[in-house]
Amino acid sequence: MQVDVSAPFDTRVRQALGDEHLRVALDRATSRLSTRRAEAMAAIDGPQLRDDARAVRQEAIDRLPTLLEELEQNLTDNGCQVHWAQDAAEATRTVREIAERARVKRIVKSKSMVTEEIRLTASLERAGLTVTETDLGEYIIQLADEPPSHIIAPVIHKRVEDVSELFHNTFGTAPTLDPSDLCATARSQLRGRFLDADMGISGCNFAISETGTICLITNEGNGRMVSSLPRLYVVVLGIEKVVPTVEGAILLWQAAARNATGQNVSVYFSMNSGPRKKGHPDGPDEMHVVLLDNGRSRVLERGYGEALLCIRCGACLNACPVYRHIGGHAYGQTAYNGPIGAVITPLLADDASAAKELPFASSLCGACRDVCPVKINLPRLLLDLRRDMAESGHAPVTERAAMRSFARVMQSARARDRAVSAARWLTRMKLLPPIRTWMRSRVFPGFARERFRRLWSSRARRAGKSSDAS
């Protein structure tokens, strides 16, 4: 059974838990990625890397407006055209207009979470443009017409059999269980797309303000292709991606690689600083950079700036017992899933009640905080979000009513005594609707056979007797 990302939260979780293939695939992938990460961090001074990575990101967020102005200036000096967008609509319109002005028809894209966030591909396709995802995983899910399910491994939910069948149905290739064969098919299909494309689009891992440089991390090389082959190159990035120095970007590159896949470094780290100059044999003739807010300034205003430190390595997903069971699609129509997704999806949303279940989809075990390369205190942020939602009235009606009665009852010993007796009966009758709903996803500890207050008074009586005997 496939997870329907537009279904209600409960349904999505039930679908995910009922999918045996998904459970196996998730378990395999997340444990391997977690192990590799742990080994890669143990091979160096891990705590030092985390301290330094945090410091680099913290400085960037503390000085965000200043660094953004510096970035804009240096990008412009490097020959880039800089655009600002307050929301998804403005960003997609900007990219569409760039494409229209240059009479672009074919676009190649490298993997980018921010373009998923603003649904850029769909918007460009509606305008009649051909958009091809070129990251192997993204290409597979584009063919399958599904959203990505992991920040760095978008087809974590698919087996090799599934991909083989998809390629067989799309290209008529022979069925195979060898990923290299599938990879070769994708290489030959996509090579032509790269060479024919008029425009390349990518996200950005880090934007170095001091030099006006857009950094891209890839292992496949598609990031290099989209930034080198087409006439036009467009970068879309969230405003939090800025980093003050080259040294900072190089540190974060290593932090990202170790924490995402357990590599020392990624295969490619491209640093792009503008369109080609006269006399350069290749590179784009035009380079555009779209700086996107889309809720990020609101995240800062609401006091959640820590969430903007994230470098999108996906380590928290692999560590999370909830993600490991339900996978990315159960988090709904969002580019970001797992613990960091549960924090930033509701924060980035315009509507305060959007994705309101996500901060509750966590056991607050803290595994995510322990692996985060920039030491984001994710459980703390999840709790803060729960509090915000309760205070702004987005908690379920029954839960609010229950909490109100709980407060009343706990203020009086008599009422508490009576309530406990009632609760003993009620928990036995699990069928009552509000309790049944609540208990569907929770294990309720049973009541002790004897009540504490009764136990206490009988002990006190016995103690009184024994002291008499002495």
């Binding site: 992938a29 192997l136 995983g137 190089i250 780290f269």
Partner: protein, 238 residues
Amino acid sequence: MPPEPRSRDVILQRLRRVTGAVRPQAPFLPRPVMRLAGESQSLAQQFGENLAAVNGGYELLDRRDAVTARVMQLVTQWNDETAERTVLSWSADELPVPGLSQTLERSGVTVCAPIDDHDGDIRARAARATVGLTGVDAAIATTGTVILASGPGKARVASLLPLRHIVLVPTSKIYPTVEAWVRERRAANSLRTLLSESKQVVFVTGPSKSADIELTLTLGVHGPRAVHALIFDDGSPR
């Protein structure tokens, strides 16, 4: 009616209200992540072994003279699948071995060093080449990384399109760590110029790879399937 404020100003104003005034200070400088394994091995040896650890290949050649013959052998060996022997290359001036391009040409190999890749003919030829040939701007021992800056005579496609990439690494260009390379560039005041003049500086660490399908390693997804370093002593100290 006053004109609608530009998005740029709206965003910056909102951010300014939250972040307030932050005292300007020297930017934070992170510490190096990796250290050299030991003194016993040369930088060249460590560079090669670390490249091999990420599925690359390497050979240590004792003389620059040995490079040309070895490149010739590799091109022949790797090109026997196709009739056309084309090498997509940096220009002769940018390769660290003088006369290499000319020798290849004389031996019947077509050396394509793009002047302008947006010219359709060049691009078609470039796309057919099965071997790429470049030098390096620097190489990093701890990670097996080569640093390639693009620019006149230094086509990006040479290290990107062909299935195999031969990279010529003079020992004088090998640095112990990536941080050491940046530090030297920073001290020489050439870091910013390198980035803004080259337009693309890329760190390449081994062949292109993916683990997207069931986390199974596959090589040569978009970039080269083989990255083969010919390391030679060029006698000049760094």
